[in-house]
Amino acid sequence: MIEVKDLHKSFGENHILKGLSTTFETGKTNLIIGQSGSGKTVFLKCLLGLFNYEKGSISYDGDVFAQLSEDQKRNMRAQIGMVFQGSALFDSMTIAENVMFPLRMFTKQSKSEMQDRVDFVLKRVNLDDAHNKMPSEASGGMQKRVAIARAIVNKPKYLFCDEPNSGLDPKTSMVIDNLIQEITEEYNITTVINSHDMNSVMEIGQKIVFLKNGYKEWEGSKETIFKTENEAVTNFVYSSNLFKEVRRVYLLNEKLK
């Protein structure tokens, strides 16, 4: 579980996060949503330890990250898997080498053990015949799956995804969403996804945190988001006619029950 308490982050005069508090539960897909500029990416980078923050605390299963020694931080980071918006695969390595990279860096496994693990995770993300391809030869969806494979290869306790569906078609987006949810439940990890894809919210949002202007405006789940009367949330989530209709039908069904 990741617990965030009263998190403040500024860039000069620009106060981005204004006292954020929330928890991200283990074994669940936790989504951070909000408009562009609401502070989602800054929040995610604070969670990852890429940005220092002025006030507040972030604890990973009780360990406050900022209070850890450098060695402990290093060990903690080895337990984090990250899927970047642009996949961030290493161009000079093949897909198999990309996936093997965290194992080579953080474990003392033999080459055959590492190879077995790479084969296993690539098969898990349905890429068992792409070992020797370069990232540039893979499609956007394949690159995202490789990024997921790299993120989970070292059996992380925490998985972070920044806009995992950006640039993907709706079908591939659904495949990626389902894969993330399956992996979260299968390995019982704490998954935090930064997204503004409403399909993801409806599909895999077991916990949803809505940010607005650096504040937590609302939190709930994919079920409660249909019922909320919060104006900022409804304006954002139901800005398209399709989702308005989905919500109308959902509420109607609830009424009939």
């Binding site: 980071r77 984090i80 961030a88």
Partner: protein
């Protein structure tokens, strides 16, 4: 950045591969262009020197002497380094800059890897072999001069070789290689700095490469002046 480069070192088994890859990219990959330039510029230096000696009292061997001095003292260590600032420097800046733009450096940091050590240290180590390239440039520059001299009919083989051996001061070689080591460090670090700390997108990668070339060249020229003053005056 230089201090950061030595903190939290990457595993040796991984670092070894990175160093070998950088030796291939930065050193071995530059031999062709350096050899080509050194040979022909050596020839041009000889022709220019020979054409400017019209006094019959000046011995023909001076052509070989002037070629050796020009190539060993300045052309090979300094001007090849300026050329390398364009070739190797732009490569380093653009490759690290692209990694920054595509979040590959963030990926390394998230994994708890010291990205400066991972990216810059192997380049600095690889560039310790840079004097090897300069040795080739010195040799081929003089060979180019010899070829130009013989085929252009400016002096005989014996005269040229006598000139090359004339008044040889071993400290000049020490001076040339001391400069080369300093320039090798500059060639690895200034372009890395510009790539690592760049902000923006693809267009900014191009701008960072140009900026890094300018600053690397300026640093080489200034340090060349300072080192020459310190070591030869």
């Amino acid at each position: 950045m230089v201090k950061e480069m030595f903190l939290k070192p990457t595993k040796w088994s991984v670092m070894k591969r990175l160093i070998l890859k950088d030796i291939d990219d930065l050193v071995i990959g530059s031999i062709g262009i350096v050899s080509f330039i050194a040979f022909f510029v050596g020839g041009v230096i000889t022709i220019q020197t020979a054409l400017n000696i019209d006094n019959p009292l000046i011995p023909k061997s001076l052509v070989g002497f002037a070629t050796r001095q020009s190539i060993v003292l300045e052309f090979a260590p300094t001007f090849i380094s300026i050329i390398m600032a364009g070739k190797v420097g732009s490569f380093i800046t653009s490759s690290i800059g692209t990694m920054r733009v595509t979040e590959q450096i963030d990926a390394l940091e998230v994994m708890g890897i010291n990205s400066i050590n991972y990216l810059v240290f192997p380049k600095v180590v690889a560039m310790t072999l840079y004097p090897f390239i300069i040795s080739i440039a010195m040799f081929l520059g003089i060979m180019g001069g010899l070829a130009a001299c013989i085929f252009g009919g400016y002096s005989s083989y014996d005269d040229f070789i006598t000139g090359v051996q004339l008044d040889f001061i071993p400290f000049h070689i020490v001076y040339a290689f001391l400069k080369t080591f300093v320039f090798a460090f500059i060639l690895a670090t200034i372009p890395s700095y510009h790539g690592y700390y760049m902000k923006g997108g693809a267009l900014e990668v191009g701008k960072a490469s140009t900026t890094s070339f300018v600053w690397t060249s300026v640093a080489i020229i200034l340090l060349n002046y300072i080192l020459t003053q310190l070591l030869l005056s």
